[in-house]
């Protein structure tokens, strides 16, 4: 009887702890880099890391991380049957790693994006360009941040 009670109580405690963890994750509002990255590459056929197709213009260091300009130009055809349909910008150490997802079609005619982003600390900015035929082209650059843009 005592053993049964112990098991019942410990199972309850374990479930409660697990519950607390899940709850904490859900209410925190944070999106980690791994989660954002997995979401972006879901279902892709091939990933080209450190792709030379991506020209990434971003400052090497910034005083304030509140307004960091990012310019991406991807050398890809943009034809009816083959085009870049999404450009993701992710930050490896921001509390919310996901920054922007651009949704394009061939009518945009050029795989280009400029956007201002926030950076919380020194970290890598990752660009993922996803084609409509399941390829991902990836490029990362490190940006040194003196004052956080997220505080």
């Amino acid at each position: 009887m005592e053993r049964r009670d112990f098991l019942k109580n410990s199972s309850f405690a374990a479930l409660s702890l697990a519950g607390v963890d899940i709850f904490a994750k859900n209410v925190s509002g944070k999106i980690g880099f791994e989660e954002a990255y997995e979401d972006a590459i879901k279902g892709v056929k091939k990933i080209y890391k450190d792709s030379e197709k991506i020209k990434l213009k971003i400052p090497k260091e910034v005083k304030k991380g509140l307004v960091v300009p990012v310019e991406v130009d991807i050398d890809y055809p943009m034809k009816e049957d083959r085009y870049i349909e999404h450009i993701y910008i992710l930050a490896t150490k921001n509390p919310v790693a996901k920054i922007i997802k651009a949704n394009y079609t061939f009518i945009n005619a050029k795989a280009y994006l400029f956007v201002n982003i926030k950076l919380s600390e020194t970290q890598d900015v990752a660009i993922l360009a996803r084609s409509n035929i399941g390829e991902i082209f990836e490029k990362r650059k490190r940006v040194k941040v003196a004052i956080s843009g997220c505080s």
């Binding site: 949704n103 945009n108 956007v115 201002n116 926030k118 997220c150």
Partner: protein, 115 residues
Amino acid sequence: MSMGFKWKRGVIKPLKKEIKKGDVVIFTAATYHPMDSGFQKDKTTNKIKPKFFVKELKIFFEDILVCSFDFEVSASPKLVVKFPLRVFKSGRIKALWEDNLGNILSKSVKISVQN
């Protein structure tokens, strides 16, 4: 922050003035928004400010959706986006921003294309 927020400032414009039929034109769509991440404290009340951010920007040419952008709280309050579009005819291009509280801002510009 969101209580007294009036969303007025925004613009969409092409980067070049003279546009020929078939040109790929870069457009700028810009607005200002608090972009509160949900992690920052209000300096006066010392309470955490709830998330308040632009979640989407849609671009229409003559009321047809031509591209869109999904944001999270890590986009900058000085929300400038530049994007390309091949243009074949004159018409109105419209930017429609929507934040997570359902506020909407719309700005448009008419472009003239030379044949």
